[in-house]
């Protein structure tokens, strides 16, 4: 069921409906005639997408870079997608299981939008020691599978370098992980950032280990996820 506020441009829909909207915007005749899109006021077959959505959909269809953000807690995950070009950026945020909100923002606001989703902010502690992870544990922590994440978190509990605050966090299951990947040049280039976070401090995953870090460093890494001017192939 598409929920579209024509005044604010807030659009909630499922993945199929979103694909239909993108197809309709790209000119696929069958999608343009979709009753669901037409009745919700999202897409007019004679005019195109609603003006509140046009800019965001242009970012989806002609993106300079695109990415996804998987946020996982002990018992749930949310998968968000982002697109960006020089003029606009768009996000498809999973707000409920399999229900998404499509949002258009100015490209420069994308890092802040990601930071809000990831709950980036000051932490009461900063861990001290690196914690080496096996490949299996690392894959588990940033898996879409709740069980795999839970098992990986339990494996970390026995790590020698873990702070008392983090032991408590793992026992209370108040941690969350996120994995952000941005790709460009048709997927040939890109960057990834993996984080394990809680009120007890923040770790970034790099070189096979959880490395203690600060919210400032994570913010800087978020902005570095996106391509610098010279990294986009000029032919594109």
């Amino acid at each position: 069921m598409i929920d579209f506020n024509t005044e604010t441009g807030h659009l909630r829909l499922n993945a199929d409906e979103f694909e239909l909207l993108v197809d309709a915007t790209s000119g696929i005749a069958k999608a343009k005639r979709s009753k669901a899109l037409n009745e919700a006021g999202v897409f007019d077959p004679d005019v195109g997408p609603h003006r509140a959505l046009a800019l965001g959909l242009s970012a989806v269809l002609a993106s300079m870079c695109q990415g996804q953000l998987l946020v996982g807690g002990p018992r749930n995950t949310q998968l968000h997608q982002v697109w960006m070009n020089a003029g606009a950026a768009a996000m498809l945020m999973e707000v409920e299981p399999a229900i998404y909100e499509f949002v258009t923002i100015a490209p420069g606001f994308m890092p802040a939008a990601l930071a809000r989703i990831c709950r980036l902010g000051p932490r009461r502690d900063q861990p001290v020691d690196d914690i080496a992870l096996s490949k299996r544990t690392a894959n588990g922590l940033w898996s879409e599978d709740d069980k795999a994440r839970g098992e990986a978190a339990r494996e970390i509990t026995s790590s020698a370098g873990l702070s008392p605050g983090w032991r408590e966090t793992l026992a209370d299951e108040t941690w969350w992980t996120w994995d952000a990947t941005v790709i460009w040049n048709g997927g040939k280039d890109g960057r990834t950032l993996r984080v394990l976070d809680s009120a007890a401090g923040t770790y970034a995953f790099d070189d096979g280990a959880l490395q203690p870090t600060s919210a400032t460093q994570i913010w800087r890494a978020i902005t570095r996820l996106f391509p610098a001017d010279g990294e986009i192939d000029s032919a594109r």
């Binding site: 993945a15 199929d16 694909e19 695109q66 998987l70 998968l79 399999a98 100015a106 420069g108 606001f109 890092p111 802040a112 930071a115 809000r116 980036l120 902010g121 000051p122 894959n139 898996s143 879409e144 952000a180 990947t181 941005v182 790709i183 048709g186 997927g187 040939k188 280039d189 890109g190 960057r191 990834t192 950032l193 970034a204 790099d206 490395q211 600060s214 919210a215 400032t216 460093q217 913010w219 800087r220 890494a221 978020i222 902005t223 570095r224 996820l225 996106f226």
Partner: protein, 276 residues
């Protein structure tokens, strides 16, 4: 029979070859499937499953052993399960994506920082009449405005295509009788009220020239809706508060952060009662 099986084998090999070519993604044409879940499903699940089905089917048809048939049967079942899961969940399992797609050349955002921030900053010394001193970037313009509290404003040179010029504002104010924590608690509340879409990113205790202080990092939107990162270094000496605020376009903070820290490292706060 043999001809039919050979035909199946050829179809299977061709299909698997297309799947391998797509998965490797060596050219833009080979990455045809990137971006849409339906094409991802086709390239990463459907093509390998169909290809494997034809190849394995032809092997069995040409006379394989019972144990080989069992192994092949299990493989086909596993692949069909993945295909059904992907169809039901409407997305391809993340582990099925090729490494270059998932980690995109294994370039981590952490690693990229090393290259960008090694620029040595040329500075010029600046000292306030109170005795507070810090270096400011040599090519930035600076002025001591006739405004209460504001000691200096420094502004980076205009850069074509950049809609927000990075700047430094130093404020010095007296009368903080309630102590450091109360002052900063009030400051936090004020920032949230005064700035659009204020997002506090980081807050930590620091020492600035031997004085207790805090460093806060936040994001907000200007009146013209430009995304800006603000880094504030704050210290208290007696009842006198010193606040150094760096503001920079949100995407440019990473380029300047180390240089800001370099400037803060050279701050000199006058000893109580020892004004020049």
């Amino acid at each position: 029979m043999i001809l039919k099986m050979a035909f199946f084998l050829i179809i299977g090999v061709c299909t698997v070859a297309v799947a391998v070519w797509s998965r490797a993604g060596r050219s833009e044409r080979a990455r045809w499937w990137v971006g849409k879940s339906l094409t991802q499903f086709a390239a990463l699940v459907a093509l390998p499953v169909v290809g494997a089905y034809f190849i394995l089917g032809s092997i069995i048809g040409m006379g394989g052993s019972d144990s080989l048939e069992t192994v092949i049967g299990l493989l086909v079942i596993a692949m069909v399960i993945v295909a059904i899961w992907s169809a039901v969940m409407r997305r391809v399992p993340r582990w099925l994506f090729p490494r270059w797609y998932k980690t995109a050349n294994k370039s981590s955002a952490n690693a990229r920082s090393q290259e960008r921030n090694r620029m040595t900053l040329n500075t010029t010394p600046w000292q306030h009449s109170s005795g507070f001193a810090m270096p400011i970037p040599a090519d930035w313009t600076h002025a001591e405005p006739d405004e209460p509290l504001v000691a200096v404003i420094a502004l980076e040179p205009p850069v074509e295509g950049i809609d927000f010029r990075a700047n430094i504002v130093v404020t010095i104010d007296d009368g903080h009788t309630g102590g450091f924590d109360q002052w900063q608690s009030e400051a936090d509340q004020l920032l949230g009220r005064a700035l659009n879409d204020w997002l506090l990113l980081d807050l930590e205790r620091v020492t600035i020239d031997g004085h207790q202080g805090v460093r806060r990092l936040g994001h907000h939107a200007t009146a013209d809706n430009v995304p800006v990162v603000m880094e504030q270094w704050v210290a208290l000496d007696g009842q006198t508060g010193y606040t150094v605020t760096f503001s920079v376009g949100a995407m440019a903070y990473d380029d300047l952060a180390d240089q800001f820290a370099q400037l803060v490292g050279a701050i000199s706060i006058p000893k109580l009662g020892a004004k020049p």
